[in-house]
Symmetry: C2
């Protein structure tokens, strides 16, 4: 399988709930505090070097811009960001690990790594699961497995996903057919910010839907197989595309991004996707990970986190500045 | 008057006819030969250093690609190019002087110089006129002046014009209003390849229409005055334009032209116009004359003259290559 930088990242999410509390949708303010304290203590008390790399953060202490910047960095879910008053997270230094407390479930362990690294992510998530399980009482049923707020997570509570860059499957309109067919076998394809979002920058998240009556290993294995099939289709589409038109689009996108004086988020995503395609196909000589980095750094709240609160027009100017700067540096050396 | 590189070039054209021949539309093949020979001899016999810089060229000896490349370089008219079998021209080394024989009139003396240089062009045209007049018998009427095939040239036979770059008057749709109002006072605004062509690359040719009952000096003076007024309007429009949007368009155009892998003539003209605007407004640091040079070099026949006969698709690739090359060199040193 020619991977071609099509797999941007892998993500594991485990949903866990405490026996003694109602599900978050019916929890009181005091119960959220109880939840926060229970998880915080479990981590602190474990006192391992691993646990010491994690930081407990109360969302009320985080400025709004930073909250939405965290969404743009895929650290927390948009759903959690919208209703995070009185809630908390546990975060690793590099933000690859985030435990959201009081999202849809009491505990959502999330581990994200770049490229195809489902096993690695799962190993880390399992370690956290064990660490928490030692101190807390998870709602578990011997017949069903882990109990969750939504029945779609019942069983393993595991959602494994890969973020895929599929510009040619998108351009050739194959993506909706693929989406339909993977749905039938228990997988979902959706936009980069999760449920209900579209495939911006041609990025699509492929994840398992089945959590009941299947082991974690099987779930990861199936996801890997489907991922390989989709990558093959994307590669086929790349191979049969009009090479000249593709090269032209890639270089024009590079020309626009490295020269524009104002850039909307939508434009940035559109052109970055083409640059990313160009980098992975060897058309454009830039660091393969640079487009992904620029995509995150160019988010509206990431811009405001860096330069301060500002109007959309000013943000478009700052975004263009930042992108020019990152692209210029990225052509010669690592950012 | 802030000229701002708005005047691309100045052009003088004198129409003259020989007493002893019918107008070209009714001439036989033998009469064209007679005309060619008469003019050729007049120039050769004058034997001055000036006349020695001129070259007599029979159009039958010029390859078709080169004929249309001459149109793209504004050396001959499209009308002359279409019907040039058996005809001839007299051309200076730098192509700033061209005498077309057997176009609409027997003799069309054309002198073109860059920038505002109507007087200079007129001086040269007058010298040629005198040189030819010494040896030939021009059709001249003491009441009307020079007799011409079309009554619109009767009198001085002089057409003076300036090629203007008017991107903001075009964008703000003022150009058609200006065109209407100058028409009323005996001037015409039209596209760069003369009558019946549109304003490609936002280039417009402003010329006098009145040749009867007016001296050459007056005609040039009036044209200069109108030119100054139009330049002022273009400068006003530039001053009141959205600066950010303008800069953004200029830089994006530069980015596209210096990166594209295929370029149509239409795209080249569109983006070059913006780059030219950027250069003249000090937004873009490139040689002010570079866009004009690229515009000429990028013409379909100019491309084929350089790289050989080819299909439009291949031409678009070669055009993109040439433009990238010229822009890269032009940023640091003169081409």
């Amino acid at each position: 399988m020619m991977e071609n930088n099509i797999i941007v990242s892998s993500r594991i999410r485990l949903a866990r709930n405490l026996k003694e509390l109602a599900f978050p949708s019916r929890m009181t303010k005091e119960e959220f505090q109880k939840l926060n304290l229970a998880v915080k203590s479990a981590i602190m008390e474990s006192n391992t070097p691993f646990a010491k790399t994690l930081k407990y953060i109360e969302m009320d202490s985080v400025p709004e811009t930073e909250i939405y910047a965290m969404v743009e960095r895929h650290v927390i879910s948009p759903e959690f960001a919208r209703k995070c008053a009185g809630k908390a997270i546990v975060l690793s230094e590099d933000e690859s690990i985030c435990i959201m407390l009081g999202e849809e479930d009491h505990i959502r362990i999330q581990v994200v790594k770049s490229g195809l690294s489902l096993e690695k992510c799962y190993d880390i998530a399992e370690r956290l699961d064990t660490l928490l399980c030692d101190k807390l009482h998870f709602a578990f049923n011997s017949q069903f497995g882990y109990l969750t707020a939504c029945p779609t997570n019942l069983g393993t509570g595991l959602r494994a996903s890969v973020m895929l860059h599929l510009p040619l499957l998108e351009a050739t309109k194959q993506i909706s057919l693929i989406s339909e067919s993977v749905n039938k076998i228990g997988f979902t394809v959706r936009g980069i910010y999760g449920e209900g979002t579209s495939g911006e920058a041609s990025l699509y998240q492929l994840s398992n839907q089945i959590t009941l009556g299947i082991s974690e290993k099987e779930a990861l294995g199936n996801l890997t197989t489907i991922t390989e099939q989709i990558i093959e289709k994307e590669n086929d589409a790349r191979a049969s595309a009009d090479k000249l038109a593709l090269e032209d689009s890639v270089f024009r996108s590079f020309g626009i991004l490295s020269n524009a004086r104002k850039l909307t988020s939508e434009e940035l995503m559109k052109y970055l996707s083409l640059i990313k395609l160009g980098a992975s196909m060897g058309i454009l000589d830039i660091d393969n990970n640079l487009p992904d980095k620029i995509l995150v750094m160019g988010g509206p709240n990431m811009i405001m986190r860096k330069y301060g609160i500002m109007e959309p027009v000013e943000r478009d100017i700052k975004r263009a500045e930042l992108v020019r700067d990152m692209l210029t540096k990225g052509k010669t050396n690592e950012i």
